[in-house]
Amino acid sequence: MKKIEAIIRESQFLKVRDALKNLGVKHFTYWDVTGVGKEKQPHVYRGVNYESSAINRRFISLVVSEDLLDAAIEALLDSASTNEVGDGKIFVLPVEKSIRIRTKESGPSSL
């Protein structure tokens, strides 16, 4: 099992969700984060112009079985991209164990 952490634009979220759904990924978790990166956003507040490199992003955390991994990454890459600076990143981390709380079953079937 692998954990995919994808940091994406909020505005691409619906596309990403649908792409994952089409792939059969029915479970994932997300939250809103602030991303510091190359993309900058112009801001004005009471006459002070400033560029903020802190941009709203959505963080998707998704644990998948080995065999779904590549397809999931593919789907994410496609749906999250706008080809402009700031599209975000995907990281893959190893997962040692997964348990469904309700049934206590563990392993890939619990995903």
Binding site: Y45, R46, G47, V48
Partner: protein, 409 residues
């Protein structure tokens, strides 16, 4: 004067009192919205303190210091009619020519007095030490504000000179604004506001409530200016309201256009400050101006407030989170001088009277503020501890969060 007219006049003043009262919610929302979340409780604590303390202190000493009834031939500088209040006796209808009762007079003036202190509150937000702010504002409402008031509205030397300040561009707004300026100067900027010569923006955490605050303040100005006619005389009151609303509108439109040209964005905070600048600007002469002059005064206030904020914030490096100094002090001065330039009183000598008033009151406010600030600084202190400021005053001074349990879905 019939009973009915007396009743109607007094009723108008009572309503105006209620409207000025609710300005304190407007100020509260404005300050809350333009500061950071970690100080939200502190903002409202200060505001509640100012309005409640203000009314009590104005009862105790302020009213009788501001309206001491200078005797004939008095220089009209300082007099005191004693602690507390007591009905002057006799038929009330004679009290003010049937315009209002003694009690209405007191309450209307009391909510005005609290306004001056609230202006300070916004400018010093996010770093002032609570006890220090309390002591300063108590002294200022008890002593400085009513003494200045007595010079003009109390029938003192300024009114004898010919100075005109209809509803308090100078007597309320600048008086508050000078104290704000001195307090900000003594306090220094918030941590992180100025770094290596750069001016950082510290955006407020709730602009919709700040915007609501501005609309509530505008509503309050119906009472602030409308009540300053001191009767419900139909033509005078209604012209004042028209002038007030036109000046606010002109200030808003001009401010947002100036900001759009200067900063290339539709800056809501500047538009809001334009409304307030226009309101403060027209306050001194709302009874003297024609509608078109009101629009001009309001519109110029819109220019002044935008550049005033930028000047203070980025050039003078005076950190005023809500723009109180630009709005209340600078536009207050502008509005007061405008009475010498526009409207029925406009004349060279009137302009000089206005300038004298602005200057002398400014000097007096700067001096008294400095004294009070020094007293406060060397007793309880005026600046919150560095740690407290960084963590936020809510959890350090109030042990409370403004939005505990607020969750995002």
């Amino acid at each position: 004067m019939t009973d009915a007219l007396f009743t109607a006049n007094n009723l108008w003043l009572m309503i105006c009192t209620a409207l000025v009262f609710i300005m304190h919610l407007g100020f509260g929302f404005l300050e809350l919205g333009m500061t950071r979340q970690k100080n939200a409780i502190n903002i409202f604590f200060k505001n509640f303190f100012v309005i409640t303390m203000g009314i009590l202190v104005y009862y105790l000493v302020g009213f009788n210091l501001m309206y001491p009834g200078f005797s004939d031939g008095s220089p009209g500088i300082l007099d005191f009619a004693g602690f507390g209040l007591s009905l002057p006796g006799g038929e009330s209808i004679d009290y003010a020519g049937g315009g209002y009762t003694y009690w209405t007079d007191f309450l209307f003036q009391a909510v005005f007095a609290a306004t001056a202190a609230t202006i300070v509150s916004g400018a010093v937000a996010e770093r002032v030490k609570l006890e220090g702010f309390m002591i300063f504002s108590l002294l200022y409402v008890a002593i400085a504000y009513p003494i200045v008031g007595s010079w003009q509205w109390g029938g003192g030397w300024l009114s004898q000179l010919g100075f005109h300040d209809f509803a308090g561009s100078t007597l309320v707004h600048s008086v508050g604004g000078w104290a704000a300026l001195m307090f900000v100067y003594f306090l220094g900027p918030r941590i992180g506001k100025y770094q290596d010569g750069r001016t950082n923006a510290i955006p407020g955490h709730n602009l919709p409530l700040a915007a609501a605050g501005v609309l509530i303040l505008w509503l309050g100005w119906f009472g602030f200016n409308g009540g300053s006619v001191l009767s419900a005389e139909p033509n005078a009151t209604s012209l004042v309201l028209v002038n007030t609303c036109l000046a606010a509108s002109a200030g808003a439109i001009v401010a947002f256009l100036v900001a759009k040209i200067s900063f290339k964005s539709f800056d809501l905070t500047m538009l809001m400050n334009g409304v307030l600048g226009g309101l403060v600007g027209i306050t001194a002469g709302a009874d003297q101006m024609s509608v078109i002059e009101s629009i001009v005064i309001g519109g110029l206030s819109g220019v002044i407030v935008v550049y005033g904020i930028t000047l203070l914030d980025t050039v003078l490096k005076l950190d005023d989170p809500v723009g109180a100094i630009a709005v209340h002090l600078i536009c207050g001065i502008w509005g007061t001088l405008a009475v010498g330039l526009f409207g029925d009183l406009a004349s060279g000598s009137q302009f000089i009277y206005q300038a004298v008033g602005v200057g002398v009151i400014g000097l007096f406010c700067v001096i008294t503020s400095s004294i009070f600030l020094l007293i406060t600084k060397y007793t309880v202190g005026i600046r919150a501890k560095r740690d407290f400021e960084i963590q936020g005053l809510d959890c350090t001074e109030h042990a409370m969060d403004a939005y505990s349990d607020f969750q995002t879905k």
